[in-house]
């Protein structure tokens, strides 16, 4: 009995050490390291779709995929600090027009409003190295036909002529995937109330989303609006 107990304690101690020694994957560092690969021309304006495409093309587990997608703003293309908070909001589902609630990781407040107004969600199924999963992705319509394509955005990132450039961004039903809606699910009434009454997604977004575009001067979202509207 004594021997068993001592062995158990030894095992416990070793397990404790292994846990301490084990190196966790540093997703943020990887995105920083590969930034110049993702944006060879150093222009990341509204280039969330480039991040999404880069991430989904990697050999990921589902957990990796989720963690990477917490680290960039789908609207502005900015990196986000690890452990940043997300915004709880809703978006319209393309197919059903239902409201889908979930968490959105953003670089700054206006991006939450812009993503709510100018983008939609679609359900996407994908096979990761640890199995297939379904999740909601945030999409914008094909911007490649625009006459007023914003000149601060690298058009070649998104478009191959008037078509979506499938080598550079992820194309889902002829819409560009710009990011992931985390924990996406059909909204309940309480969820919608929560979003509408929230200081940011409610009052602030109502103000921002009713301001004429030419009067908006906050954040990179303005460029995104020109791309996504």
């Amino acid at each position: 009995m004594k021997k068993i107990l001592v062995k158990c304690l030894l095992l416990l101690a070793i397990l404790f050490q292994i846990e301490v020694i084990a190196e966790e994957k540093n997703y943020h560092k990887e995105l920083i390291t590969d930034w110049s690969r993702i944006f060879p021309d150093k222009n990341r304006n509204a280039a969330g779709p480039k991040f999404f495409k880069y991430i989904i093309d990697k050999e990921n587990t589902y957990k990796d995929f989720i963690e990477y997608n917490k680290l960039f703003c789908a609207v502005s293309g900015s990196l986000i600090d690890p452990d940043s908070d997300s915004e709880f909001l809703f978006l319209k589902e393309s197919k059903s027009n239902n409201k889908i609630c979930g968490n959105y990781y953003r670089c700054c407040v206006p991006c939450s409003c812009d993503v709510m107004k100018y983008s939609e969600v679609q359900k996407m199924k994908y096979k990761f190295i640890d199995g297939s999963r379904e999740f909601y992705v945030i999409t914008i319509k094909n911007p490649c036909n625009k006459n007023d394509f914003p000149n601060r955005v690298n058009k070649e990132y998104f478009c191959d002529g008037k078509k979506i450039n499938n080598d550079q961004v992820y194309n889902l039903n002829n819409r560009i995937v710009i990011g992931l809606l985390h924990n996406g699910r059909t909204c309940k009434n309480d969820d919608i109330d929560l979003v509408k009454n929230h200081q940011i997604t409610g009052r602030y977004c109502e103000l921002r989303n009713n301001t004429p575009l030419e009067e908006l001067d906050a954040g990179m979202g303005d460029i995104f609006i020109k791309l996504a509207r």
Partner: protein, 481 residues
């Protein structure tokens, strides 16, 4: 029953304490010997270099002063004392930050480049100094009429010596900030900026720079920059090509600060350490024509880093990496086999209240153990500090001092110690850390049961010389033929 339980608890604690040291390494690695520095008043200092300024065969620490005198600290009668009093060297009124020494005129004496900066970025008021010696008098080469048109009047940070042609004629790469990089050489007896001809005249936020055998058999350059990509400048017959993107060391959205060359895998080649300001620190090792960052979570943790140094402080045959942070505790890591970084908890040299701005190593007292001099300043005047590792009695050393054909330290050459246990390369420091330059000696501690020593020196022209039958516990001077 109670006694039995206590016994189990004891056993558990014993087992646990046996395993615990895997992560929390030894205490009291350094001892503080700052008391040997005479007249060690609070001052604003930055870069530190190591050279034999008075040509007596012993190196001195050259410490820059930012609105304070530059110092040349020599070891005399058990004390570190300033040995130069000439005004042009002390230069009390200028604000010196970067310093590097090398023989630019092939006379065997290392000229000293002092980079002055009186503005953060762009055009500055006072130029740099290039101190030479004639008839025991120090003078500034830039003050000679013929050299005035080539003054560096751009704010800068670090400087590094580069023997780009491998002929012993050093040039000086000046990492400017908000203006073009400069590369000074003596041509027709005149100091000339050759940056444009050599593809080096880029504008960036220059911070730290190293030179040595990184990619080729000639002097390559790695420059860690701020607000812009790093440069990895491959030497193509004396001209340079930036290959940082291809080799994946451009680190474009981080802000470089301190850098050093280190044989991280003990495999006989120099890889790159790059400390980023409040960003992930890098331990780049070359694998399949790309550098891979192998720094672990403890090593890469962002900090307010300045200088980074790779050296074997405790003579155990494994290098340590010293990270000098400003207004944040310093850090020390041991590089174990396979590039595994193990943090050594510091007590002395932790400097929780220290405003570290530079640091350099040298065996200043010639006892076979390195001393670490740390300078301080920027936003708080502080005295210098000096540390030495607590070395185990049985630890031994070997120091290799390559001298080029002109009799000057062969900065940028690579020394490799080959034994039954390792193939360990070290650069003869041409400039490294942040604003600093280490002693021009390859210092090795000796491992347990290590034998069959052989030394390879790869000179700056890529040619190699070998020395066999090495006795340890000595400094060996190897002269280029």
């Amino acid at each position: 029953m109670f006694i039995k339980k206590v016994n189990y608890l004891y056993k558990f604690l014993i087992i646990f304490s046996l395993i615990l040291p895997i992560n929390s390494s030894r205490a009291e690695f350094f001892k503080d010997i700052s008391n040997i520095i005479t007249i060690n008043e609070s001052r604003l200092s930055y870069g530190v270099s190591v050279t034999d300024i008075n040509a007596d065969g012993n190196n001195e620490f050259i410490v820059t002063g930012f609105g304070y005198p530059n110092l040349a600290l020599g070891y005399i009668d058990g004390k570190l004392k300033n040995i130069i009093q000439e005004d042009v060297f002390l230069d009390r009124d200028r604000k010196t930050i970067g310093v590097a020494a090398c023989d630019i005129d092939k006379d065997g004496f290392e000229e000293i480049y002092f980079l002055n900066t009186d503005t953060y970025s762009g055009t500055k008021k006072y130029s740099d100094r290039l101190i030479d010696k004639s008839n025991n008098n120090y003078f500034d080469l830039f003050e000679l009429e013929k050299n005035i048109e080539n003054l560096n009047l751009t704010a800068g940070r670090s400087v590094v010596c580069v023997d780009r042609k491998g002929d012993g004629e050093y040039g000086i790469y000046v990492a400017n900030y908000g203006g073009p990089t400069r590369f000074y050489e003596i041509e027709n007896n005149t100091i000339t900026d050759k940056a444009k001809t050599l593809n080096l005249d880029k504008v960036t936020g220059g911070r730290a720079v190293v030179s040595g055998h990184i990619l080729t058999d000639r002097a390559d350059i790695f420059a860690a920059n701020e607000r812009g990509a790093n440069f990895l400048l491959k030497n193509n017959d004396g001209k340079f090509e930036d290959v940082a993107f291809d080799y994946r060391v451009d680190d474009v959205i981080q802000n470089g600060r301190g850098t050093a060359l280190s044989d991280i895998y003990y495999r006989g080649r120099l890889d790159i350490l790059s400390g980023n300001w409040n960003g992930y620190h890098r331990a780049y090792v070359l694998e399949n024509k790309e550098f891979k960052d192998i720094g672990n979570k403890a090593f890469d943790r962002p900090s307010r880093i300045r200088t980074i140094i790779s050296a074997d402080f405790d003579n155990d045959g494994f290098d340590e990496v010293f990270m000098n942070n400003i207004a944040e505790p310093n850090k020390l890591f041991k590089i174990n086999e396979n590039g595994k970084f193990e943090e050594i908890k510091l007590k002395a040299a932790l400097e929780t209240q220290g405003f570290g701005t530079g640091a350099a190593v040298a065996d200043i007292d010639n006892d076979g153990i390195l001393e670490l001099l740390v300078s301080h300043g920027e936003s708080k005047a502080q005295p210098l500090t000096l540390y030495k590792a607590k070395v185990e009695k049985n630890n031994k050393y070997l120091r290799i001092k390559p001298i080029n054909k002109f009799g000057a330290p062969a900065r940028g050459a690579t020394v490799t110690l080959i034994s039954n246990q390792r193939k360990h390369s070290k650069t003869i420091d041409a400039g490294s850390g942040y604003l600093c330059q280490m002693e021009p000696v390859a210092h090795y501690g000796i491992r347990k049961n290590e034998k069959d020593f052989r030394i390879e020196v790869k000179w700056t022209n890529g040619k190699k010389d070998f020395t066999d039958k090495i006795e340890i516990n000595q400094t060996i001077t190897i002269k280029q033929k």
